[in-house]
Symmetry: C2
Subunit: 377 residues, 2 copies
């Protein structure tokens, strides 16, 4: 592993495992959920609040940050940590995924991708080397290779070409990263929903050698069963002594199922995006606070929760804030949802260390199936 970076597996429970990924800026307890700090802010939350939920690491988006405020500017201001106020580790993606999903007039070639900013139409170029240069300017703690991610379903030829290109870029990324210490570099497995391609990608990346292995190109339109089938075959093909990161996933159930298959790290915009749309995660499932049934309900989201937004505010008040389109609705529900996710990860780690992970998953699924506490009569 890169000097200054260490990963240790703690407990295991079948394929599920706990661990610690240690970097100079802090230790990440795995399985870990990384709140998404798209543009140097986890939307509608202060970094103090993000930290208070138990998050060890957040994610920053290379695509967004390179366009605004700009990587060179962030570097001149002392890096993403000084800029944003987040003191722990930060993982940055490579920019590739957002180029495909957000940018205009993108043109891919074997050397990289040229695209126009969705903000102002200006032209930019990302290559494996430039992506890592940007991530170095941001001074993120965990960096990722540029890859090509295809939406599913896709033709095998398309998936194969993208996987091969990603593998070639992985090699160039490894070279570009060489000499860096105290920071980690993750390769990204691609291959769509094709077993052979996934295995070829995993083997190719393992041969190059990375500090950790991300699994990309899943949760992009395929059924959960397809995603889990891909994990079933990909995870065993990756080195056991390296962290495994499932990119952009997902629902609480996706996370529990993926941890069961040996995934150590996750990121997803769901908790914050849902929070901005009036949706709250609770131990009994997802609630839409817009629903009129909450209008006169004096009860909190979850009286057993340890975090303020779930415990100290009535459903009636949250309903009112959502209906009135108040910023405080986004603040409280984003906070609740990130806290819910972090609390879930803490329970995941405890269950694994106690060797009762399957029972924990069954208990969670049964609770989610309830949907909500009983309506007031």
């Amino acid at each position: 592993m890169t000097v200054g970076v260490a990963f240790e597996v703690g407990s295991t429970d079948d394929a599920a495992r706990t661990g610690t990924l240690t970097l100079p800026r802090g230790t990440i307890r795995t399985p870990a959920f990384m709140p998404v700090g798209t543009a140097a802010t986890v939307k509608a939350m202060t970094m103090e609040t993000v930290k208070s939920t138990g998050a060890d690491v957040i994610l920053g988006n290379t695509y967004h940050l390179m366009l605004r405020p700009g990587a060179e500017r962030v570097a001149a201001l002392g890096g993403l940590h000084v800029f944003s106020g987040w003191k722990g580790p930060i993982l940055t993606d490579s920019g590739g995924f957002q180029v495909m999903s957000l940018a205009q007039l993108r043109k891919l070639d074997v050397d990289g991708v040229t695209f126009q900013s969705h903000i102002d139409g200006s032209t930019h170029r990302l290559t494996p080397e430039r992506s890592l240069e940007i991530q170095a300017l941001l001074d993120s703690d965990i960096r990722t290779q540029l890859d090509e991610c295809v939406a599913l379903p896709a033709d095998r030829a398309v998936m194969e070409k993208a996987m091969r290109l990603s593998l070639a870029w992985a090699e160039r990324s490894k070279v570009a990263f060489a000499g860096t210490s105290g920071r980690a570099l993750f390769g990204i497995v691609q291959g769509g929903d094709d077993a052979e391609l996934r295995l070829e990608s995993a083997a190719g990346l393992t041969a190059i050698g990375f500090d950790g292995y991300a699994i990309g190109g899943l949760a992009v339109g395929e059924p959960q069963a397809t995603m889990l089938a891909m994990l079933d075959l990909t995870v065993p093909a990756l080195p056991a002594d390296r962290p495994r990161y499932l990119m952009g996933v997902g629902t609480p159930d996706d996370i529990l199922q993926s941890v069961k298959r040996g995934i150590d790290m996750f990121d997803c915009v769901m908790p914050t995006r849902a929070g901005r749309h009036g949706v709250a995660y609770t131990r009994y499932g997802k609630l839409n606070l817009k629903n009129a049934r909450h209008a006169d309900d004096p009860r909190p989201l979850d009286e057993t929760a340890a975090w303020a937004p779930a415990r100290d505010y009535s459903r009636a008040y949250l309903h009112h804030l959502v209906k009135a389109d108040e910023i405080l609705a986004s603040m409280l529900l984003s906070w609740n949802n990130v806290a819910y996710y972090q609390n879930l990860m803490g329970q995941v780690r405890r269950a694994i260390s106690m060797g009762c992970y399957d029972a924990f998953v069954a208990e969670q699924q049964a609770a989610w199936a309830i949907g909500d506490i009983a309506e007031l009569s």
Copy 2:
């Protein structure tokens, strides 16, 4: 005064004075600035953060709350304090001002006003009695009479008619409030920019007798000099042993000039509204964070400030958040601005108690004239 309510004047410095307005839910240090909690939330802030800025009291809008979530609903949920989570005193306006500025198809008669909600077009009616009934349902600590407020400039006949109607409603409000304890009722001086009308209003209200006297119908389009001239003649006509509240005012300079004339209480949406529009108050004046000159500036808004948003975030970061339209921009700048106002009020109270109020005002005005710290070279 009403049983359970007490006002004591502390220090005086010419007409400026400190004091304490004590109510069962807490003591308000005057001169006081009340952040506006329109719809049971001070926009983009948690109540914990509002409290942390030093605010003793917040304002709630009867018009907004009667329409959404509804006064009877708030009462069933335990009142506005339980609903919103604000534990200290709350002042509610009467609804009259917003009926005039926001509602549709309003029709005024001697008994009250009928109007359509700006939210859903539903028809509602406010009378002096219904306004106080709503304020009792909300269970606010300081309640205000229904009045008619006219925008300036206006014809004398219009101002006279509105003042006389407000005075008649003041009498009915006093009757409707009778028997309430532990809550205060404020009358509202009207009369536009006409000296005779203002004096007639003040004398009429004083004869009825209120726990405090609000001065309404100012900061509604007239020059600051007109407003101050009205205060010069109105304040001496009000009982010295009762708090005086200048409604909807204002800029920091408006506040300092009005305190000099004996005003004890203020409310204004400026700090929070400015915060949502990228504007920050600092000791050197008002800054527009959208301005490109902040883009590369690593310095905080004000390194001498005691509150986090002014001290712990760079101008470059705040600029970025504003440009990217991030909710955190509204959160941090609203917080900064309310903290700025509360800090200013603390300095006002200290300056009065030290007998150096004029020197303090001169010092503040000189600082504001600077505009900002020098640009980075």
